[in-house]
Symmetry: none
Subunit: 218 residues, 2 copies
Amino acid sequence: MITLSEENYLKCIYRLWQDKGQKITPTAIAESLGNNPASVVDMIRKLTDKQLINYDKKKGVELTTQGQKDATLIVRRHRLWEVFLLEKLGYHWDEIHDIAEELEHIKDATLADRLDKFLGFPEYDPHGDPIPKANGKMAKRYSTTLADVKTGGQCRVVAVKDTTSQFLQYLQKLGINIGTKIQLIERISFDNSLVISIDGAEHKTVSQKFGESLLIDM
Amino acid sequence: MITLSEENYLKCIYRLWQDKGQKITPTAIAESLGNNPASVVDMIRKLTDKQLINYDKKKGVELTTQGQKDATLIVRRHRLWEVFLLEKLGYHWDEIHDIAEELEHIKDATLADRLDKFLGFPEYDPHGDPIPKANGKMAKRYSTTLADVKTGGQCRVVAVKDTTSQFLQYLQKLGINIGTKIQLIERISFDNSLVISIDGAEHKTVSQKFGESLLIDM
DNA sequence: AAATAAAATTAGGCAAGACTAATTTTATTT
DNA sequence: AAATAAAATTAGTCTTGCCTAATTTTATTT
């Protein structure tokens, strides 16, 4: 049986793997979870014992086939619950992540599939992330960010890379949602800040970090 | 902050209090939860410190006003989720309790109220237990069974008293669900068997035990 | 290459929440 | 009332999952 904490580590490793494709180190996991590296080392041993990950100093942490399956299922549940919270219970964009973070751990063999069906088999969650299907397959993840747009270029918001409520509330405040059109007016070479126009409105300046957190389609 | 374990104890105490109205002893709690009495004593201290219960050797365990509020909210969440699982996700009667047992611990200020609204403010859960309202008030528990109906009387199935899969599968086979209309045609005085008509269909005979397991509204 | 910095690991500890075993208190029988 | 049984409590232990502090290993500078 997999514990709540183990599930959170798996999910974190899965996310780091998807995000960067780079070597996943204990420190990276610790930072991502807000835990101490020593705790991460403990958990790496547990997950290795359970054959959910492999750890090698050279390669870093890697999910085993089983680990990938488990992690994908957690992500599936998380994203399905997000759709439910937004569409059925009327929550806002920035509220659903934290609740889904709890709901994703509810264990029942058929729950995800039933929820999926009830929601009409959605392809993407409200953050624009693809929802893994029952067989583990999922649509392609968007990877181009606002920071990749050429100066003068136009794009459309399709998803968010950062799901902290701070970021989501900031988006809300700026009036940015899925589908919002953004034009990149200028890139400040000093710190790579971005001057943008949201839905054709007046220019606003956002940080590089912001730009890298917003996934877009050109 | 109240922990998962504390919530489970609170709920257990609440149930014992509702069920019997008798003195609630550590042993009774231990039996009900399948825990060791020593563990219960530990938790009694914690809950007392948090002012959620009072404990007195003479009076046993009693919920404080705050304890009652908290327990009622947990029960509210549990029963609302049961309705959701049955009505929206198509689970069977006998599957919903265990899942709701997990879902009831999801903490969010507005979740219960939103779910309540989404479900159309149900009065009762599928086991016939009343769902506490947001203000803590609740209807009376269903207690009339098919066996209480007068000969010739018409009634509507509102809940089940017995949740064994044998019974539930039998109901399935007979085509009886929540809302099904039943007319009591005849009561066999020999063994109190009941001749009934399900949704106006042809007569069928069921046992007294069966009649006493089906909660109805006249 | 040596020095320094960063990352990883080990050792030891803590709190929650369960347990067992032993003891004390309370209740019930004889 | 004494003996016995049952219930309650205490003491000490275990596991999970986190921590800090110290140490070792690895990477980066100088």
